[in-house]
Protein backbone atom coordinates (compact mmCIF):
# COMPACT_ATOMS: atom_id res chain seq x y z
CA UNK A 1 0.00 0.00 0.00
CA UNK A 2 1.52 3.33 -1.04
CA UNK A 3 2.21 5.99 1.57
CA UNK A 4 -0.33 8.79 1.50
CA UNK A 5 1.31 12.09 0.56
CA UNK A 6 -0.06 15.54 0.08
CA UNK A 7 1.22 18.51 -1.94
CA UNK A 8 3.43 20.95 -0.11
CA UNK A 9 3.68 24.67 -0.78
CA UNK A 10 7.13 26.21 -0.51
CA UNK A 11 8.12 29.84 -0.76
CA UNK A 12 11.29 30.32 -2.75
CA UNK A 13 12.62 33.75 -2.03
CA UNK A 14 12.42 36.68 -1.85
CA UNK A 15 15.60 36.36 0.19
CA UNK A 16 16.77 33.00 -1.09
CA UNK A 17 20.47 33.31 -1.89
CA UNK A 18 20.27 31.48 -5.20
CA UNK A 19 17.30 33.21 -6.76
CA UNK A 20 18.12 36.10 -9.00
CA UNK A 21 17.54 39.07 -6.79
CA UNK A 22 14.49 39.62 -4.63
CA UNK A 23 12.12 37.39 -6.53
CA UNK A 24 9.55 35.16 -4.88
CA UNK A 25 8.11 31.95 -6.25
CA UNK A 26 5.32 30.17 -4.46
CA UNK A 27 5.63 26.59 -5.59
CA UNK A 28 3.44 23.59 -4.84
CA UNK A 29 5.38 20.35 -4.89
CA UNK A 30 4.27 16.78 -5.07
CA UNK A 31 7.34 15.15 -3.61
CA UNK A 32 10.03 16.56 -5.86
CA UNK A 33 7.79 17.37 -8.78
CA UNK A 34 6.47 20.87 -9.33
CA UNK A 35 2.69 21.09 -9.58
CA UNK A 36 2.04 24.81 -9.47
CA UNK A 37 4.11 27.95 -9.79
CA UNK A 38 3.12 31.45 -8.82
CA UNK A 39 5.73 34.17 -9.33
CA UNK A 40 5.33 37.18 -7.04
CA UNK A 41 7.02 40.38 -8.12
CA UNK A 42 7.41 43.89 -6.83
CA UNK A 43 10.02 43.62 -4.11
CA UNK A 44 12.43 45.91 -5.96
CA UNK A 45 9.96 48.41 -7.33
CA UNK A 46 11.50 51.89 -7.44
CA UNK A 47 9.12 53.64 -9.77
CA UNK A 48 11.69 54.37 -12.48
CA UNK A 49 9.00 55.29 -15.01
CA UNK A 50 7.46 57.83 -12.69
CA UNK A 51 10.85 59.18 -11.64
CA UNK A 52 11.66 59.71 -15.31
CA UNK A 53 8.68 62.02 -15.65
CA UNK A 54 10.21 64.40 -13.14
CA UNK A 55 13.69 64.57 -14.55
CA UNK A 56 14.96 66.14 -17.72
CA UNK A 57 15.96 64.05 -20.69
CA UNK A 58 19.63 63.77 -19.84
CA UNK A 59 19.06 63.05 -16.16
CA UNK A 60 16.95 60.02 -17.05
CA UNK A 61 20.12 58.38 -18.41
CA UNK A 62 21.26 57.86 -14.82
CA UNK A 63 18.02 56.02 -14.04
CA UNK A 64 18.46 53.63 -16.94
CA UNK A 65 21.76 52.44 -15.46
CA UNK A 66 19.82 50.98 -12.61
CA UNK A 67 17.34 48.95 -14.62
CA UNK A 68 19.43 46.00 -15.62
CA UNK A 69 22.57 46.63 -13.68
CA UNK A 70 24.52 43.93 -15.49
CA UNK A 71 24.08 45.67 -18.83
CA UNK A 72 23.84 49.37 -18.10
CA UNK A 73 25.58 50.45 -21.32
CA UNK A 74 22.87 48.79 -23.41
CA UNK A 75 20.15 50.47 -21.32
CA UNK A 76 21.81 53.84 -21.92
CA UNK A 77 21.88 53.08 -25.62
CA UNK A 78 18.19 52.15 -25.80
CA UNK A 79 17.14 55.30 -24.00
CA UNK A 80 19.40 57.58 -26.03
CA UNK A 81 18.11 56.06 -29.28
CA UNK A 82 14.57 56.83 -28.14
CA UNK A 83 15.40 60.46 -27.38
CA UNK A 84 17.23 60.83 -30.67
CA UNK A 85 14.22 59.46 -32.51
CA UNK A 86 12.05 61.92 -30.59
CA UNK A 87 14.23 64.81 -31.70
CA UNK A 88 14.95 63.47 -35.16
CA UNK A 89 18.72 63.73 -34.81
CA UNK A 90 21.56 61.33 -35.55
CA UNK A 91 24.73 61.01 -33.48
CA UNK A 92 28.10 61.35 -35.23
CA UNK A 93 29.64 58.28 -36.77
CA UNK A 94 32.37 57.88 -34.18
CA UNK A 95 29.79 57.99 -31.41
CA UNK A 96 27.82 55.28 -33.19
CA UNK A 97 30.86 53.03 -33.34
CA UNK A 98 31.80 53.74 -29.74
CA UNK A 99 28.27 52.87 -28.66
CA UNK A 100 28.27 49.65 -30.62
CA UNK A 101 31.67 48.76 -29.20
CA UNK A 102 30.75 49.32 -25.56
CA UNK A 103 27.35 47.69 -26.01
CA UNK A 104 29.06 44.55 -27.26
CA UNK A 105 31.57 44.66 -24.41
CA UNK A 106 28.64 44.95 -22.05
CA UNK A 107 26.88 42.06 -23.75
CA UNK A 108 29.94 39.89 -23.16
CA UNK A 109 30.01 40.93 -19.50
CA UNK A 110 26.31 40.28 -19.08
CA UNK A 111 26.43 36.89 -20.76
CA UNK A 112 29.42 35.92 -18.63
CA UNK A 113 27.38 36.71 -15.53
CA UNK A 114 24.40 34.78 -16.89
CA UNK A 115 26.46 31.72 -17.81
CA UNK A 116 28.52 31.84 -14.62
CA UNK A 117 25.48 31.87 -12.37
CA UNK A 118 23.70 29.31 -14.53
CA UNK A 119 26.57 26.89 -13.91
CA UNK A 120 26.68 27.82 -10.24
CA UNK A 121 23.01 26.93 -9.94
CA UNK A 122 23.79 23.50 -11.33
CA UNK A 123 25.98 22.99 -8.29
CA UNK A 124 29.42 23.95 -9.61
CA UNK A 125 30.07 26.38 -6.81
CA UNK A 126 32.69 28.95 -7.52
CA UNK A 127 35.03 27.69 -10.18
CA UNK A 128 33.28 28.48 -13.50
CA UNK A 129 31.81 31.63 -12.02
CA UNK A 130 35.27 32.86 -11.09
CA UNK A 131 36.52 32.14 -14.61
CA UNK A 132 33.66 34.23 -15.94
CA UNK A 133 34.18 37.03 -13.46
CA UNK A 134 37.89 37.16 -14.18
CA UNK A 135 37.10 38.33 -17.70
CA UNK A 136 34.17 40.49 -16.65
CA UNK A 137 36.42 42.35 -14.25
CA UNK A 138 38.64 43.39 -17.14
CA UNK A 139 35.63 44.69 -19.08
CA UNK A 140 34.54 46.75 -16.08
CA UNK A 141 38.06 48.18 -15.90
CA UNK A 142 37.69 49.26 -19.52
CA UNK A 143 34.41 50.98 -18.63
CA UNK A 144 36.15 52.77 -15.80
CA UNK A 145 38.63 54.13 -18.32
CA UNK A 146 35.85 55.32 -20.59
CA UNK A 147 33.46 56.91 -18.17
CA UNK A 148 34.79 56.70 -14.63
CA UNK A 149 32.41 54.08 -13.29
CA UNK A 150 32.16 50.34 -13.52
CA UNK A 151 28.49 49.42 -13.15
CA UNK A 152 26.41 52.61 -13.16
CA UNK A 153 28.13 53.99 -16.21
CA UNK A 154 25.89 56.84 -17.55
CA UNK A 155 28.25 56.94 -20.51
CA UNK A 156 25.87 57.78 -23.31
CA UNK A 157 23.93 60.97 -23.83
CA UNK A 158 21.21 61.82 -26.32
CA UNK A 159 23.26 62.75 -29.37
CA UNK A 160 26.33 60.64 -28.75
CA UNK A 161 28.52 59.77 -25.80
CA UNK A 162 29.77 62.28 -23.26
CA UNK A 163 33.47 61.95 -24.00
CA UNK A 164 35.82 60.25 -26.36
CA UNK A 165 37.81 57.26 -25.14
CA UNK A 166 41.09 58.24 -23.47
CA UNK A 167 44.23 57.41 -25.45
CA UNK A 168 45.18 54.53 -23.14
CA UNK A 169 41.82 52.85 -23.78
CA UNK A 170 42.73 51.47 -27.20
CA UNK A 171 45.88 49.57 -26.20
CA UNK A 172 44.04 48.23 -23.16
CA UNK A 173 41.17 47.06 -25.37
CA UNK A 174 43.54 45.32 -27.78
CA UNK A 175 45.28 43.61 -24.88
CA UNK A 176 41.93 42.57 -23.42
CA UNK A 177 40.68 41.12 -26.70
CA UNK A 178 43.90 39.14 -27.01
CA UNK A 179 43.67 37.78 -23.46
CA UNK A 180 39.95 37.22 -23.60
CA UNK A 181 40.22 35.02 -26.69
CA UNK A 182 42.48 32.70 -24.67
CA UNK A 183 40.37 32.93 -21.52
CA UNK A 184 37.16 32.25 -23.37
CA UNK A 185 38.67 29.24 -25.10
CA UNK A 186 39.52 27.91 -21.65
CA UNK A 187 36.01 28.67 -20.46
CA UNK A 188 34.51 26.77 -23.37
CA UNK A 189 36.89 23.88 -22.86
CA UNK A 190 35.84 23.75 -19.23
CA UNK A 191 32.11 23.75 -19.86
CA UNK A 192 30.81 23.23 -23.36
CA UNK A 193 31.09 19.45 -23.57
CA UNK A 194 31.05 18.69 -19.87
CA UNK A 195 29.03 15.50 -19.34
CA UNK A 196 27.53 16.55 -16.03
CA UNK A 197 26.34 19.77 -17.60
CA UNK A 198 24.86 17.92 -20.56
CA UNK A 199 23.07 15.36 -18.39
CA UNK A 200 21.61 18.03 -16.18
CA UNK A 201 20.46 20.41 -18.90
CA UNK A 202 19.94 18.59 -22.21
CA UNK A 203 16.22 18.08 -22.77
CA UNK A 204 15.23 19.87 -19.58
CA UNK A 205 12.45 22.48 -19.75
CA UNK A 206 12.12 22.86 -23.51
CA UNK A 207 10.32 25.96 -24.75
CA UNK A 208 8.72 25.37 -28.15
CA UNK A 209 9.00 28.23 -30.66
CA UNK A 210 5.23 28.77 -30.90
CA UNK A 211 5.03 29.13 -27.15
CA UNK A 212 7.99 31.54 -27.11
CA UNK A 213 6.48 33.71 -29.83
CA UNK A 214 3.04 33.71 -28.23
CA UNK A 215 4.51 34.81 -24.92
CA UNK A 216 6.49 37.50 -26.80
CA UNK A 217 9.74 36.21 -25.36
CA UNK A 218 12.85 37.83 -26.84
CA UNK A 219 16.60 37.64 -26.75
CA UNK A 220 18.72 34.52 -26.24
CA UNK A 221 15.71 32.61 -24.84
CA UNK A 222 13.81 33.15 -28.10
CA UNK A 223 16.80 32.26 -30.23
CA UNK A 224 17.41 29.11 -28.19
CA UNK A 225 13.85 28.13 -29.07
CA UNK A 226 14.86 28.07 -32.70
CA UNK A 227 13.55 31.47 -33.82
CA UNK A 228 16.04 33.54 -35.78
CA UNK A 229 15.16 36.98 -34.47
CA UNK A 230 17.63 39.66 -33.48
CA UNK A 231 16.92 43.39 -33.59
CA UNK A 232 20.54 44.04 -34.47
CA UNK A 233 19.83 42.25 -37.77
CA UNK A 234 16.17 43.06 -38.23
CA UNK A 235 16.33 46.78 -37.53
CA UNK A 236 20.00 47.79 -37.34
CA UNK A 237 20.63 50.73 -35.06
CA UNK A 238 23.86 52.64 -34.41
CA UNK A 239 26.67 50.93 -36.33
CA UNK A 240 25.23 47.42 -36.54
CA UNK A 241 24.57 47.79 -40.26
CA UNK A 242 28.32 48.25 -40.79
CA UNK A 243 29.45 45.09 -39.03
CA UNK A 244 29.05 41.44 -39.84
CA UNK A 245 27.93 38.80 -37.41
CA UNK A 246 25.86 35.64 -37.21
CA UNK A 247 22.85 34.93 -35.07
CA UNK A 248 23.20 31.61 -33.25
CA UNK A 249 19.95 29.65 -33.08
CA UNK A 250 19.21 26.67 -30.87
CA UNK A 251 17.77 23.40 -32.12
CA UNK A 252 16.64 21.57 -28.97
CA UNK A 253 14.92 24.54 -27.22
CA UNK A 254 16.14 23.33 -23.82
CA UNK A 255 18.26 24.68 -20.97
CA UNK A 256 21.48 23.62 -22.66
CA UNK A 257 20.58 25.55 -25.79
CA UNK A 258 19.90 28.68 -23.80
CA UNK A 259 23.36 28.31 -22.30
CA UNK A 260 24.90 27.46 -25.66
CA UNK A 261 23.33 30.43 -27.45
CA UNK A 262 24.85 32.81 -24.89
CA UNK A 263 28.27 31.25 -25.31
CA UNK A 264 28.03 31.65 -29.09
CA UNK A 265 26.82 35.22 -28.78
CA UNK A 266 29.95 36.07 -26.83
CA UNK A 267 31.95 34.81 -29.83
CA UNK A 268 29.89 36.98 -32.19
CA UNK A 269 30.33 39.99 -29.90
CA UNK A 270 34.08 39.50 -30.10
CA UNK A 271 33.80 39.59 -33.88
CA UNK A 272 31.78 42.82 -33.75
CA UNK A 273 34.27 44.48 -31.41
CA UNK A 274 37.17 43.62 -33.71
CA UNK A 275 35.31 45.11 -36.68
CA UNK A 276 34.44 48.25 -34.72
CA UNK A 277 38.06 48.79 -33.72
CA UNK A 278 39.10 48.36 -37.35
CA UNK A 279 36.46 50.73 -38.73
CA UNK A 280 36.38 53.51 -36.14
CA UNK A 281 37.65 56.87 -37.33
CA UNK A 282 38.48 60.11 -35.51
CA UNK A 283 35.75 62.67 -35.27
CA UNK A 284 33.29 64.28 -32.89
CA UNK A 285 31.52 62.05 -30.41
CA UNK A 286 28.60 64.26 -29.43
CA UNK A 287 26.22 66.58 -31.22
CA UNK A 288 27.41 70.03 -30.23
CA UNK A 289 24.21 71.85 -31.15
CA UNK A 290 22.10 69.78 -28.77
CA UNK A 291 21.59 71.78 -25.57
CA UNK A 292 21.98 70.33 -22.09
CA UNK A 293 18.27 70.77 -21.41
CA UNK A 294 16.38 69.25 -24.30
CA UNK A 295 12.84 70.35 -25.22
CA UNK A 296 11.24 68.20 -27.92
CA UNK A 297 8.12 69.54 -29.55
CA UNK A 298 4.82 68.84 -27.85
CA UNK A 299 3.03 65.68 -28.85
CA UNK A 300 6.11 63.95 -30.21
CA UNK A 301 6.29 60.21 -29.55
CA UNK A 302 9.09 57.76 -30.14
CA UNK A 303 9.92 54.17 -29.40
CA UNK A 304 13.59 53.28 -29.30
CA UNK A 305 14.57 49.64 -29.03
CA UNK A 306 17.75 47.64 -28.88
CA UNK A 307 18.64 44.02 -28.63
CA UNK A 308 19.81 44.03 -25.03
CA UNK A 309 21.63 41.07 -23.55
CA UNK A 310 18.35 39.71 -22.21
CA UNK A 311 16.05 40.57 -25.08
CA UNK A 312 14.27 43.48 -26.67
CA UNK A 313 14.64 46.55 -24.47
CA UNK A 314 12.48 49.45 -25.51
CA UNK A 315 11.78 52.95 -24.28
CA UNK A 316 8.55 54.62 -25.33
CA UNK A 317 8.70 58.36 -24.79
CA UNK A 318 5.96 60.93 -25.10
CA UNK A 319 6.76 64.62 -24.95
CA UNK A 320 4.47 67.45 -23.94
CA UNK A 321 6.95 70.13 -24.92
CA UNK A 322 8.47 70.36 -21.45
CA UNK A 323 11.95 69.55 -20.27
CA UNK A 324 10.91 66.15 -18.91
CA UNK A 325 9.21 63.27 -20.71
CA UNK A 326 5.44 63.25 -20.27
CA UNK A 327 5.49 59.46 -20.24
CA UNK A 328 8.36 57.01 -20.26
CA UNK A 329 7.32 53.41 -20.74
CA UNK A 330 9.99 50.80 -20.40
CA UNK A 331 9.57 47.51 -22.21
CA UNK A 332 11.92 45.36 -20.21
CA UNK A 333 12.86 41.95 -21.58
CA UNK A 334 13.24 40.25 -18.20
CA UNK A 335 9.65 40.87 -17.14
CA UNK A 336 8.25 39.54 -20.39
CA UNK A 337 10.61 36.58 -20.44
CA UNK A 338 9.29 35.69 -16.99
CA UNK A 339 5.85 34.97 -18.45
CA UNK A 340 7.06 31.53 -19.52
CA UNK A 341 8.16 30.60 -15.98
CA UNK A 342 5.16 28.42 -15.35
CA UNK A 343 5.58 26.59 -18.64
CA UNK A 344 9.28 25.99 -17.95
CA UNK A 345 8.89 24.77 -14.38
CA UNK A 346 5.65 22.79 -14.06
CA UNK A 347 6.23 19.07 -14.33
CA UNK A 348 9.96 19.29 -13.72
CA UNK A 349 11.91 18.49 -10.58
CA UNK A 350 12.95 20.70 -7.70
CA UNK A 351 16.62 20.52 -8.66
CA UNK A 352 15.87 21.88 -12.13
CA UNK A 353 13.77 24.75 -10.87
CA UNK A 354 16.49 27.28 -10.17
CA UNK A 355 18.49 26.11 -13.20
CA UNK A 356 15.58 26.77 -15.55
CA UNK A 357 15.04 30.12 -13.95
CA UNK A 358 18.74 30.89 -14.36
CA UNK A 359 18.63 29.88 -18.01
CA UNK A 360 16.03 32.60 -18.67
CA UNK A 361 18.50 35.05 -17.09
CA UNK A 362 16.20 37.48 -15.39
CA UNK A 363 17.38 40.57 -13.63
CA UNK A 364 15.16 41.94 -10.91
CA UNK A 365 16.27 45.52 -11.40
CA UNK A 366 14.60 45.35 -14.77
CA UNK A 367 11.60 43.23 -13.83
CA UNK A 368 10.36 45.60 -11.15
CA UNK A 369 11.87 48.88 -12.39
Amino acid sequence: MPIRTEPMTVNVGPQHPSTHGVFRLRITFDGEEILEVEPILGYLHRGSEKLAEERNYVQVVTLTDRLDYTSSMINNQAYCLAVEKLLGVEPPLRAKFLRTLVAELQRIASHLVAVGFFIQELGAFGTPLMYAFRSRERILDLFEMLCGARITVSYMRPGGVFADAPPDFWPALTQFMHDFAIEFNEFEQLLLENEILLVRTRGVSPLPPEMAINCSVSGPVLRASGVNWDWRKMDPYDAYDKVEFDVPVGSHWDNYDRFWVRMQEVRQSMRIIDQCVAQIEPGPVRLVDLPLVIRPEAGAEAYGRVEASKGELGFYLVSDGGIAPYRCKIRSPSLINLTVTEHLLVGWKLADMIVSLGSVDINMGEVDR
Binding site: T62, E144, S154, A163, L190, E193, E195, R286, L292
Partner: protein, 196 residues
Protein backbone atom coordinates in the same frame (compact mmCIF):
# COMPACT_ATOMS: atom_id res chain seq x y z
CA UNK B 1 33.91 8.24 -24.10
CA UNK B 2 32.30 9.33 -20.91
CA UNK B 3 34.53 11.57 -18.82
CA UNK B 4 36.73 12.79 -21.66
CA UNK B 5 35.29 16.30 -21.62
CA UNK B 6 35.59 16.37 -17.86
CA UNK B 7 39.28 15.53 -18.16
CA UNK B 8 39.58 18.38 -20.63
CA UNK B 9 38.00 20.67 -18.10
CA UNK B 10 40.37 19.48 -15.41
CA UNK B 11 43.28 20.28 -17.72
CA UNK B 12 42.12 23.90 -17.70
CA UNK B 13 42.03 23.87 -13.94
CA UNK B 14 45.53 22.39 -13.79
CA UNK B 15 46.86 24.97 -16.23
CA UNK B 16 45.42 27.79 -14.14
CA UNK B 17 46.69 26.28 -10.91
CA UNK B 18 50.22 27.40 -11.69
CA UNK B 19 49.25 30.91 -12.76
CA UNK B 20 49.45 33.97 -10.58
CA UNK B 21 46.18 34.87 -8.84
CA UNK B 22 44.16 37.65 -10.47
CA UNK B 23 42.74 38.87 -7.18
CA UNK B 24 44.47 41.27 -4.80
CA UNK B 25 44.23 41.49 -1.03
CA UNK B 26 42.29 44.72 -0.89
CA UNK B 27 43.19 46.84 2.11
CA UNK B 28 46.91 46.14 1.68
CA UNK B 29 47.04 46.06 -2.11
CA UNK B 30 44.97 48.16 -4.48
CA UNK B 31 44.18 47.82 -8.12
CA UNK B 32 45.12 50.75 -10.27
CA UNK B 33 42.48 53.38 -10.63
CA UNK B 34 41.99 55.36 -13.80
CA UNK B 35 42.28 59.18 -13.54
CA UNK B 36 38.77 59.44 -14.97
CA UNK B 37 37.32 57.58 -11.97
CA UNK B 38 34.23 59.27 -10.58
CA UNK B 39 34.72 59.25 -6.85
CA UNK B 40 33.51 61.10 -3.85
CA UNK B 41 35.13 64.06 -2.05
CA UNK B 42 34.05 66.57 -4.65
CA UNK B 43 36.76 69.06 -5.48
CA UNK B 44 35.46 72.61 -5.56
CA UNK B 45 37.39 75.79 -6.35
CA UNK B 46 35.85 78.79 -4.68
CA UNK B 47 37.89 81.16 -6.83
CA UNK B 48 36.26 79.88 -9.98
CA UNK B 49 32.74 79.45 -8.62
CA UNK B 50 30.23 82.20 -9.34
CA UNK B 51 27.37 80.62 -7.45
CA UNK B 52 25.34 80.08 -10.61
CA UNK B 53 23.93 76.82 -9.18
CA UNK B 54 23.97 75.01 -12.52
CA UNK B 55 25.21 71.94 -10.67
CA UNK B 56 22.29 72.10 -8.25
CA UNK B 57 19.79 72.41 -11.08
CA UNK B 58 21.32 69.60 -13.03
CA UNK B 59 21.65 67.10 -10.19
CA UNK B 60 19.11 64.31 -10.82
CA UNK B 61 18.59 63.84 -7.09
CA UNK B 62 18.65 67.48 -6.04
CA UNK B 63 21.18 66.94 -3.28
CA UNK B 64 23.25 70.07 -3.85
CA UNK B 65 22.07 73.04 -1.81
CA UNK B 66 23.43 76.49 -2.64
CA UNK B 67 22.67 79.75 -0.86
CA UNK B 68 24.37 82.89 -2.13
CA UNK B 69 24.41 86.53 -1.23
CA UNK B 70 25.68 89.52 -3.19
CA UNK B 71 29.36 90.09 -2.68
CA UNK B 72 30.77 93.20 -1.08
CA UNK B 73 31.05 94.94 -4.44
CA UNK B 74 27.83 95.75 -6.23
CA UNK B 75 26.42 92.67 -7.98
CA UNK B 76 26.84 93.87 -11.51
CA UNK B 77 26.34 91.58 -14.42
CA UNK B 78 29.00 88.93 -14.37
CA UNK B 79 30.12 89.67 -10.87
CA UNK B 80 30.24 86.77 -8.52
CA UNK B 81 28.16 85.95 -5.52
CA UNK B 82 29.45 85.01 -2.12
CA UNK B 83 28.72 81.42 -1.29
CA UNK B 84 27.11 80.98 2.09
CA UNK B 85 25.97 77.39 1.81
CA UNK B 86 27.26 74.77 -0.57
CA UNK B 87 26.10 71.45 0.85
CA UNK B 88 26.43 68.17 -1.00
CA UNK B 89 24.49 65.38 0.65
CA UNK B 90 26.99 62.79 -0.35
CA UNK B 91 25.12 59.91 1.28
CA UNK B 92 22.49 60.16 -1.46
CA UNK B 93 24.89 60.95 -4.29
CA UNK B 94 25.08 58.38 -7.08
CA UNK B 95 28.23 59.82 -8.66
CA UNK B 96 26.72 60.22 -12.10
CA UNK B 97 28.87 63.30 -12.71
CA UNK B 98 26.12 65.42 -14.24
CA UNK B 99 26.91 68.31 -11.87
CA UNK B 100 30.47 68.32 -13.14
CA UNK B 101 29.22 68.21 -16.70
CA UNK B 102 26.89 71.16 -16.08
CA UNK B 103 29.48 73.40 -14.44
CA UNK B 104 30.32 76.12 -16.99
CA UNK B 105 33.31 77.53 -15.10
CA UNK B 106 35.22 74.29 -14.47
CA UNK B 107 34.98 74.80 -10.75
CA UNK B 108 33.42 71.52 -9.62
CA UNK B 109 35.31 68.28 -10.12
CA UNK B 110 34.72 64.69 -9.13
CA UNK B 111 37.09 63.27 -6.54
CA UNK B 112 38.94 60.00 -6.63
CA UNK B 113 38.12 58.39 -3.29
CA UNK B 114 35.68 55.60 -2.64
CA UNK B 115 36.11 54.75 1.02
CA UNK B 116 34.02 56.90 3.25
CA UNK B 117 32.32 55.32 6.23
CA UNK B 118 30.70 57.46 8.87
CA UNK B 119 28.58 56.69 11.89
CA UNK B 120 25.81 59.16 11.19
CA UNK B 121 24.11 60.57 8.15
CA UNK B 122 24.78 64.11 9.24
CA UNK B 123 28.51 63.49 8.98
CA UNK B 124 28.11 62.50 5.35
CA UNK B 125 27.07 65.96 4.21
CA UNK B 126 29.91 67.90 2.62
CA UNK B 127 29.70 71.51 3.81
CA UNK B 128 31.25 74.52 2.20
CA UNK B 129 33.99 74.59 4.82
CA UNK B 130 34.88 70.94 4.14
CA UNK B 131 35.05 71.74 0.46
CA UNK B 132 37.23 74.79 1.08
CA UNK B 133 39.70 72.95 3.25
CA UNK B 134 39.89 69.64 1.43
CA UNK B 135 42.98 68.56 -0.46
CA UNK B 136 42.28 69.23 -4.11
CA UNK B 137 42.84 66.06 -6.10
CA UNK B 138 40.42 66.52 -8.98
CA UNK B 139 39.38 63.63 -11.18
CA UNK B 140 39.86 64.11 -14.90
CA UNK B 141 36.23 63.11 -15.54
CA UNK B 142 34.70 65.45 -18.16
CA UNK B 143 37.73 67.73 -17.97
CA UNK B 144 39.70 67.12 -21.18
CA UNK B 145 42.19 69.88 -20.39
CA UNK B 146 43.14 68.11 -17.17
CA UNK B 147 43.34 64.77 -18.91
CA UNK B 148 45.59 66.21 -21.60
CA UNK B 149 48.04 67.32 -18.92
CA UNK B 150 48.37 63.72 -17.77
CA UNK B 151 47.28 64.42 -14.22
CA UNK B 152 46.62 61.43 -11.95
CA UNK B 153 44.55 62.26 -8.87
CA UNK B 154 45.80 59.21 -6.99
CA UNK B 155 49.35 60.14 -6.16
CA UNK B 156 49.46 63.46 -7.97
CA UNK B 157 50.03 66.67 -6.07
CA UNK B 158 47.04 68.86 -5.14
CA UNK B 159 46.16 71.37 -7.85
CA UNK B 160 45.18 74.98 -7.30
CA UNK B 161 42.47 76.78 -9.21
CA UNK B 162 44.78 78.30 -11.79
CA UNK B 163 45.98 74.92 -12.98
CA UNK B 164 42.71 73.10 -13.54
CA UNK B 165 40.44 74.99 -15.85
CA UNK B 166 40.07 76.51 -19.23
CA UNK B 167 41.03 80.14 -19.43
CA UNK B 168 38.38 81.52 -21.70
CA UNK B 169 36.52 83.61 -19.17
CA UNK B 170 37.12 87.28 -18.98
CA UNK B 171 36.02 87.39 -15.40
CA UNK B 172 38.84 85.09 -14.45
CA UNK B 173 41.35 87.08 -16.46
CA UNK B 174 40.37 90.18 -14.57
CA UNK B 175 40.27 88.43 -11.24
CA UNK B 176 43.77 87.17 -11.88
CA UNK B 177 45.11 90.62 -12.71
CA UNK B 178 43.54 91.97 -9.55
CA UNK B 179 40.85 94.05 -11.21
CA UNK B 180 37.39 94.23 -9.75
CA UNK B 181 34.47 94.50 -12.09
CA UNK B 182 33.60 98.13 -11.66
CA UNK B 183 33.91 99.52 -15.15
CA UNK B 184 33.63 96.62 -17.53
CA UNK B 185 30.36 94.75 -17.71
CA UNK B 186 31.08 91.27 -18.93
CA UNK B 187 29.34 90.13 -22.05
CA UNK B 188 27.53 86.96 -21.04
CA UNK B 189 25.30 86.67 -24.08
CA UNK B 190 27.77 84.85 -26.28
CA UNK B 191 29.17 82.72 -23.53
CA UNK B 192 27.85 79.25 -24.16
CA UNK B 193 29.60 76.37 -22.55
CA UNK B 194 32.38 75.07 -24.70
CA UNK B 195 31.79 71.53 -25.74
CA UNK B 196 34.63 69.13 -25.38
Amino acid sequence: MYGLAMAKGLMVTLKNLTKKPTTVQYPEERVKQHPRFRGEEFVWYEERCTGCASCAKYCPLGIIKIVTSPSETAPKQGDKYRLEVFDIEIQRCMFCGLCVEACPYDCLFMGSGFEQGKYSRKDMVLHVEDLRQADKHPSTFFRPQLEASGYDPRGGRPLNWREVGRESWRWHQQEKSGLRLEHSPVDTAGSQQESN
